[in-house]
Amino acid sequence: MVLPRYAWRRLYQQRLVLLLTMAAFIWPLLCGGFVYLTNHVELLQGLDKGFREFIQVDGRFFSIFMYVQAGCAVFLAAMAGPGLVAPDLANNALPLYFSRPLTRWSYALARLTVIVGMLSVITWIPGLLLFALQVGLAGGWWFLANWTLGAGVLVGFFLWLLILGLVAMASSAYVKWRVVAGAVSLAFFFILAGISEMINQVFRVKWGHVLDPAWSVNRVWCTLLGVEPPDGPGALASMVALAGFVALLVLVIERKLRPVEVVR
């Protein structure tokens, strides 16, 4: 845990990262207020009955919470993620690390741990806190009936954080300049979303969605949270596509994170 400890310290020395992290707590706080309101019907007496039935803490609520936090996580990963790897590559620090008892994989895992840890603060941790708040306010019966939502939040966010972490690392491994690496990791999601939509439109198909990792993750979330899924390929196809993305990103990292660049 030596590398994560030092990286963590450096990470929160960046003001923008700190500001964005704090800003990412606004939505969970609003959601917390929402959970409180839905469990105190006396405060909603004046409202329409249909609306009161509409605002429920269920899979849809958690999926909306997750969309917003996932968006914040994308920007935070693009801003802070490349700063963990790109400077090491730009300053040629990898030979110093790898000449110590540290393998390439333990280095990559340490960096990934930092990204996932940083994003956890604004994703699954507040998600589980909201879930715990709802359980506390609604009682044990609600937990028994809806425990899968808590598991869905945890698993769903971890899947997203894995993708974000790998994209941030792979982009910074390719582009050694931190700012550009951040832009590349943002572009990764926007460009793939554009390409998948283009394929769908040109060939009049739906499977193009699997080329959009954000869409695929969303599709898996829908299954995990029991929400009506969007029109397109199923959860299994999305998982397979995501596995493909993970393999591709790991391959890029494996190719680029080397102590020496060998000119063949």
Partner: protein, 326 residues
Amino acid sequence: MQTIPVVELENLKVTLGRREILHGITCRLGVSGTGKAVGLLGPNGAGKSTLILTLLGFLRPSAGRARILGMDCGRNMGEARSKIGYMPENDSFVGEMTAVNFLRQMAELSGLPPEAALEKAHEVLFHVGLGEARYRELRTYSLGMKQMAKLAQAIVHGPELVVLDEPTNGLDPAARRRMLKLVTDMKEEQGMNVLVCSHLLRDIEQVCDEAVIMKDGLIVHHCNLEEERRSNRSFVELEVTGDDRSLRMALPEIGAEGVSEGGGRWRIVLPAGVEVEAIWGLAARQNLLVRKLTHRRDTLEEIFLKAMGHLERTPGEGAALEAGSA
């Protein structure tokens, strides 16, 4: 007691792409725990860096075996790396860290506990002359300071072997002297084994006890500089006035051989263990007045040039041959 070589290579071959860089090297360099320095010499493209990178486990041998401190560079690399310090040739640092944090992190990565790592970081930074600048970020350092910081990170965990790749690169004469002094201290005072890769023959000659000369992926010469210094058939250029006809017959008295070049000029080869003072004594006994006495040995440069094929023989060998045939 069995001695463990610092570096042991058995028919080591390294291929990058389709190109074989090291063509089956076999050798044993240094003795572990003796605090000696081995110099790795050779022209650009000789395979020095490839050999170092292979020893550090960064490149895999295509055939053969490399051992460092008795540990296999493939299988036991994790264990070996905790006993190695490496100073790369190019700029290598984490720019946004202060020197003391950087060194502490590196020491912890090598297995030191956090408190001991911090203590060692301060100590080593003072040792290399960066004590006053230890709280500055590394990116603000000058080239010479970065070189010293690189050396500091290589020795902060007290390794058994330190691998230095071009340690005096870009240093001004004063900084170069300081760097070489630090390397000498490392081996003599701290008992570290040092492997120095350099193309600067003077640096190698100054700090190393053994030298390996590489050319085209092969070791073309391996010499023990300490022994060479002691036993090299050193030769003397002597100029005398007086009747020197009997000098040739007198030279065997001190075990030397010589050849007259006329006009009182002589080239004399001294055997091992005979110092130049013996010539003074001999000249005095022969009633000769010494006008010039140049005592020189084969330099590493001459040994290097011979190994590269630019010289047929070193001046020492040449003088010995002439003296023998005369």
